[in-house]
Symmetry: C2
Subunit: 183 residues, 2 copies
């Protein structure tokens, strides 16, 4: 890729990210992004074939954090604390990208989605947590990673959509944790 093209691409993503984070993807038009990045709409579409693809690129920074968050969650504490640490970090991470939770959760299991890579990352993160807690014999039988993905994604989407504060999210995650762990 030519240097100027690379610069354009980077600038588009950098400019789009705060716009989308603040107002949600549906409230930001491709034209507005193109203008803010000082390129023509054609250039935008040369780098990102659809609006979804651009949003996927904006979410890219997210991926890097997921595994760190899992590492941190699993370093110490009781199984319940580890699980809750993961759940709350994940919800916090995704509600920082308006609409991200709903999109990723909705794309789970659809390999054709532009978010497929992110779904995989998310699924693997849940698998890691699940494996660890299974070793500790803390997981209720019959629970798999996909279910966890959907449950947590559902809560994250609700939290994101309704712009809930932490105080409103915590009790819901408690309910999930109680349901996921052995009694």
């Amino acid at each position: 890729m030519r240097a100027d093209a690379q610069r354009n691409r980077d600038r588009i993503v950098e400019v789009a990210r705060p716009l989308i984070r603040a107002r949600g993807i549906d409230a930001v038009s491709m034209d507005e992004i193109a203008k803010a990045a000082e390129v023509g709409p054609g250039t935008l579409y040369r780098h990102f074939p659809t609006k979804e693809a651009l949003y996927d690129a904006v979410l890219e920074a997210w991926i890097l954090q997921v595994n760190d968050v899992v590492d941190k969650a699993l370093t110490s504490g009781t199984p319940r604390e580890q699980l809750l640490s993961w759940l709350s970090s994940y919800v916090e991470l995704l509600t920082a990208h308006k609409g991200g939770a709903a999109r990723i959760t909705a794309s789970l299991g659809d390999p054709g989605s532009p978010y497929a890579t992110k779904c995989d990352t998310y699924l693997n993160a849940n698998k890691r947590v699940l494996d660890r807690l299974t070793e500790a014999q803390a997981i209720r039988p019959g629970i798999d990673a996909m279910q966890m993905c959907r449950l947590v994604g559902g809560v994250a989407a609700v939290a994101d959509n309704s712009e809930l504060e932490v105080a409103a999210i915590t009790p819901m995650l408690d309910v999930l944790a109680d349901g996921i762990l052995v009694r």
Copy 2:
């Protein structure tokens, strides 16, 4: 309202319902609905000031069923069976209206939303279930109706969005029930 206007209004809703149920509201245009109902777009907008308002009217039939579903759920069984009966009926009810769960859940607590009435119905339904289970001393402390609304709405939205079958939904509702009930 003039008789012909009433007929038009009714026809619009009847025609719109199956279209929206089958394909989701975003995939059905107002023009298509107007054409199917054999009215001009202006007539559509005379009866429903926005597309959201039309969707709200389409969801109207839903309301009538919610209370019946609660009645049925609370007639017999252990507290856990009653809760699960309510949860699964609710999810089934709302996934029959593509996009309905997400919209109602997202509007919870927003009195300005066109879905405010439906939110109230939904909140009250959860309150009824919660009160009954509280009498039976089956509810974990710190759980209120709004949280239940959001948790169940989140699962319903995920189920709807991903078009999950009952077999995939049941274990998620089990997790919720385990989290909501006393251990």
